[in-house]
Symmetry: C2
Subunit: 162 residues, 2 copies
């Protein structure tokens, strides 16, 4: 499998990685959640080349994750769309994992205040049906309706999983 | 900023991306959650070169995400450690996003049964403190204790965020 084929694999993780699997892309999205909106600010924060940034922003606009909006004549801002905002669970789960496992012993770099309750919070993943926290040992992956509509069925993997 | 500097940035998202920000790496982790354990099975499922796979597996073992265990003389399996298992919220959040936004109209490729309640579930991120679902508009990022222990403080970003 080559990387330009990844979007065609019938797996929602692969399809997501086709959009956000590039590390620079995920840092752009992080900054967008931190209210960074302008090209020069992204560039200053990330220290990446203008060419590379421009390419990544264009891809995110093409995928509908960011929208480009004029705030003055010929001056643009990049804002998260609904599709982009829904990347939040991925991003905050990355932050939580990094806080716990990649801490250098000096404490967490950022705290996240949940305004409605007023506390610094940590994200918890719970079951949509029963509300209990999810333990991955308690989850059984099963073949879904969309699995075999495509030539690449990733079958060995599924056999093991089911 | 270059990619080999990314781990040194004082940001838990960057630090996480230093471990799992490579797309092949994330697919290896996906397969590990689907109970794939042996080199040849990873190789067959992912269709990546043996050299590249070997390199990625070594990195994941070095980072403590996978452990390499002998199951026969000179035959090894790769299993998720506790650190690896805690990547689950990132992975399942990616699957949910892909299901919703990268669906090709043919239904979801995989379903996830939550064994304790018996239903197919979707992951929900809730606040650890009040238990309510998190809306990213309701979160205020704030500087944490570990932010300024390192030279690269990502300051412009924080000024905007706070």
């Amino acid at each position: 499998m080559k990387w330009d084929e990844i979007e065609n694999e019938v797996c929602s993780v692969s399809r997501t990685l086709a959009v956000v699997g590039d590390r620079w892309t995920m840092l752009i999205i992080r900054d967008a959640f931190l209210r960074v909106r302008r090209f020069d600010d992204f560039q200053k924060n990330l220290g990446m080349s203008r060419h590379r940034l421009s390419e990544r922003l264009k891809k995110l606009v093409d995928y509908g994750v960011l929208k480009k909006e004029a705030y003055q004549a010929n001056r643009y801002e990049y804002r998260l769309t609904e599709k982009g905002l829904e990347l939040y669970p991925i991003l905050i789960s990355m932050a939580k994992w990094g806080d716990k496992w990649m801490d250098d012993g000096k404490g967490v770099p950022m705290l996240y205040k949940h305004n409605p309750c007023g506390h610094h919070y940590s994200p918890m993943v719970v079951c949509s049906e029963c509300g209990e926290p999810i333990d991955p040992h308690d989850v059984t992956p099963q073949i879904g309706p969309g699995k075999f509509h495509n030539s690449r069925a990733h079958s060995a993997c599924i056999e093991k999983a089911s």
